[in-house]
Amino acid sequence: MYVGAVFFPLLGACISGFFGRWIGDKAAQWASVICMALAAICGVSAFIQVAYGHAPATLEIATWLDVGGLQLSWALRYDTLAAVMVGMVTVASTMIHLYSVGYMSHDPTQPRFFAYLSLFTFMMLMLVTADNLLQLFFGWEGIGLASYLLIGYWYEKESANRAAMKAFIVNRVGDLFFMLGMGLTFWTFGSIEFNTIFQGVEAARQVTFAGFPVVEVIALLFFLGAMGKSAQIGLHTWLPDAMEGPTPVSALIHAATLVTAGVFLMARMSPVVEYAPNVLGFITFIGATTAFFAASVGMVQNDIKRVIAYSTCSQLGYMFFAIGVGAYQAAVFHLFTHAFFKALLFLSAGSVIHAMSDEQDIRKMGGIWKKIPVTYAMFWIGSLALAGVPYFAGYYSKDFVLEAAYAGHGWTAKYAFLMGIVAAFMTAFYSWRLIILTFHGTPRADHHTMEHVHESPAVMLIPLFGLAVGALFAGAYFSGDFVGHHWAEFWNGSIVNAPHNHIMHEAHEVPSWVPLAPTVVGVAGIVLAYVLYMFLPHLPGRIAAAVPGLYRFLLNKWYFDELYDRAIVQPLRRLAVQLWKVGDVKIIDGMPNGAASLTAQASGRVVRFQTGRVANYAFAMIIGLVLFVSIFLFGVGR
């Protein structure tokens, strides 16, 4: 069961990847879907057994490395944290696989797509069940690779290739820090197995590295690594561009898996991170800023998938500031509910795009809600959960995150609470802006497109229902265990709060207006969106015209891409061109090419001695003899 949950997706990937050509598209698709479904069954039962049966287990598969002091195994570590992730990833991925069967039905290379999708899931599962940092890194790089392949799936498109490379390169920046963190961990603890690390934390608190407490440095390095994968401000630029991939990919990457890897890493390393108060403050600050920044950008974007992408970025900010204040459980809970409603939103958006003949610009939509009622309903459920409207999944997790932020200590926690409330308002606003622009109003698409608007086939709708159930009930059902009064029992030591950290307790005892605040601002955001886009549709344009600077600032995503382009990409490109033209072409190529032409010339000269005349040959022999004799007589040194 434990093994099955992880390795069924690999099996599926191998079948459709290696044999898809022979067994045909249909067979390859369903093989990977069935493998995924089996993995989900295993994953859910593993979740029940580990989390509710309180039976964490570590499964050794094989010895991997045994080099000097470094001994590593391939092992599956199933504790509650891992089991939560496994259950969530396998279920969400199964839904997305199933949905893809319908969504990708017109694609010419479906086995390739499903192979990538399953490979991606396998790598993610490898990451969450890792029992040492290197195996985690294997999964970490694996999802990086698979996301590169998936984002660039339509490789004929220039923009898709660029987006794929951007995602890969930006992630490499984070990976560098991860690797440094791994190295420093080994230096400090003499091992990179989680058990050894966690047991050695007390001793390591006394150790310093370059004048700083080593625990702080390690935590910082891992957080910088996580920033890349989880698209925190500064390293977020790849995420909106990653929308170039097929929509199921966006759902998989942005909902359940890739971007949550950073949050998971922080939660996994909680026993270490707990003792790095400064870094925790930094994490809180970055998370809160990201939440605010991404929500503000999301308000003005016009691409349906980009809006949702920025909302993901914003929600990841919530998760990180929850970690920053020490409420790892809240972060993982929000991650968990977010997976359902964000996957739901993406897949619904995919359904809209499918209906609109691959149109993604919401300015060219509108007036289609009667034609695709199911998708419309699903979009509502997803948005309600995202906005944190009571009794939907997002309400429980987001509320608790904000409560924890309020209860947290230090100015960063206060800042995070403030930013979180503002972002919650903006989230509700852009969600309904999206709904209204997409589904309501007068149709802005051309006649031809409107005629083709149709509800998606059942194979795409069924996963939507499944995820909608999660978006409706996952919060209410699990909140008692994840963050409620049973949390200590539920997590069973897989997430560690330091003795001085009582945040989980304090968060329940905040003033009564605090839990209400997100709901209030959320509803206010919804109302504002209705006012602006439903009832007074000419007003948004005037507002934008009134503050053009701000509008452009938001529309251009705070100019991050331009900044990076000027500060990093352009200088690097200039340097590279210089190195290429001078260093490579002239020097590196020049030397062997010059040597080759010299050789050819020398060859021509040497051959000229070969006249064919016997007399010449005899003469050469005599000269040679004379030479030999003189060497003997006068002795030329070596």
Partner: protein, 472 residues
């Protein structure tokens, strides 16, 4: 007198006489039978060589030890393979005369005498028996102008070399007072210093032997003769006689004149460097593949001489292994050249190999193996040959030799790879079907070249024993 010691040579000589009779007396064509008979005699001689006891015969003129055994086996293998390669070709070219195997047989006898020579007289005897046979078979296609020219050129230059040898031998005899290698060794190691004339004599002898192995600057005859002679003859020229001459050179240098290593070493280093460089450079522009192989063989002799030039046991062991590997790889490559025939006409251009990768993939693969091995690409046999001599050079501190060796093998890789490129990337018509005898040779030498890395131990042990016997 110890007649039993020279049993292999006796068998070959008697077989030659019998074959002569069998070729002249019957009215019908007996060339095939004689081919087979000669082949059998060579095999028999090889078996006898393996069983040959150690010792000296004919008043110390003839010596038998591990070194001679190693070299004689190589010589006989090269000659037998040369005969196999030639048989079908001769029939197709109308050259299937009984003299051909006979000449190969007598040249083999000459080579065996050379290898076993322990006296300047015996040395000359063997060398001339070989040379006279070679002069004739170089011109064996007597109706062809090129073949006749090749034979004549070889004869004239070979005579000059023989003259040098005889002159050097007489000087040595004059100053050492004996033609026997052991006596000469005594004279060289005499306490009152080495006579000047003895050294000059040695130079003359070395020059003559350098001519036989076609080392620079005595290489000039090689490209012309290789190109002009019939292809199987070239195959033979490039294999067995080279081994025999190298054996003789090693024997003379390391045996009686071992004490003078400081002196002859410099000459050999020069010859080695020159051969490596010339072999690498001159082959680049060649269009005729036999000419290319001629320069290639000059280069290989340069690498082999490097082993001798460093003057250590390790170096001589490397030399012996190099020659063994070179022999088989070379015969294999020449078997491909012999098989180059389209519509009944023999071909010699590199471009004629075009498209071989598609029309005859097996032979193209074999040729690729031989070319890569000659270029010294691991894990093929040629790599180990180079490895052992370079290793010896590095251990001995002869960095110039090692560096030039590495550089020239990089350069020579260019023309070896060009052959491969032509075979696989250029388009061309199919060659005629290759005869079975060539397939056998190709398979045998190809397998040796590929799998040498797996079983080098017996060769290493044999070479080690040979070195021990030589140096004492």
């Amino acid at each position: 007198m110890n007649w039993t010691l020279v049993l292999p040579e006796l068998v070959l000589a008697l077989a030659g006489l019998a074959a002569l009779v069998a070729g002249v007396l019957p009215k019908r064509d007996t060339s095939f039978a004689i081919n087979m008979g000669v082949f059998g005699a060579m095999l028999l001689a090889a078996v006898l060589v393996m069983a040959q006891p150690e010792g000296t015969a004919f008043a110390g003129q003839y010596v038998s030890d591990a070194f001679t055994r190693f070299m004689k086996l190589l010589v006989l293998a090269g000659a037998a393979l040369g005969l196999l390669v030639a048989m079908d070709w001769n029939v197709k070219e109308g050259l299937a005369k009984f003299e051909f195997p006979l000449l190969l047989l007598f040249s083999s006898l000459g080579m065996m005498v050379m290898v076993s020579a322990n006296d300047l007289i015996a040395l000359y005897l063997g060398l001339e028996l070989l040379s006279l046979s070679l002069y004739v078979i170089a011109a064996f296609n007597r109706d062809s102008e090129r073949s006749a020219e090749a034979g004549l050129k070889y004869f004239i230059l070979g005579s000059l070399a023989s003259g040098l040898l005889l002159y050097g031998a007489s000087l040595i005899y004059g100053f050492a007072g004996s033609t026997n290698f052991d006596r000469i060794a005594d004279a060289v190691s005499a306490t009152e210093g080495v006579p000047f004339g003895l050294v000059v004599g040695l130079v003359f002898v070395l020059a003559a032997l350098a001519f036989k192995v076609s080392a620079v600057p005595f290489h000039m005859w090689t490209p012309d003769v290789y190109e002009g002679a019939p292809t199987p003859v070239t195959a033979f020229f490039a294999s067995a006689p080279k081994v025999a001459a190298i054996a003789l050179l090693t024997r003379v240098a390391a045996g009686p004149f071992g004490e003078l290593v400081e002196q002859w070493q410099q000459v050999l280093i020069l010859a080695s460097l020159g051969s490596m460089i010339l072999g690498a450079l001159a082959a680049i522009g060649q269009k005729n593949i036999k000419r290319l192989m001629a320069y290639s063989s000059i280069g290989h002799i340069g690498y082999a001489l490097m082993g001798l030039a460093v003057g250590s046991d390790l170096g001589i062991r490397g030399l012996l292994l190099y020659m063994a590997i070179y022999l088989f790889t070379n015969v294999g490559a020449f078997a491909v050249l012999v098989a180059m025939r389209r519509n009944g006409r023999a071909l010699e251009g590199i471009d004629d190999l075009a498209g071989l990768g598609r029309t005859d993939p097996a032979m193209a693969l074999a040729m690729t193996v031989f070319m890569l091995s000659m270029a010294g690409i691991p894990p093929l046999a040629g790599f180990f040959g180079k490895l052992y001599v370079f290793l010896a050079a590095v251990y001995g501190g002869y960095w110039t030799l090692a560096v030039v060796g590495v550089l020239t093998s990089a350069v020579s890789a260019y023309y070896y790879l060009r052959v491969i490129k032509v075979m696989y990337f250029d388009a061309g018509e199919a060659l005629d079907a290759r005869p079975t005898s060539l397939s056998v040779v190709l398979a045998g030498t190809g397998l040796f070249t590929v799998f040498f890395f797996a079983f080098p131990a017996p060769f290493l042990a044999a070479a080690q024993a040979a070195v021990a016997a030589l140096v004492g």
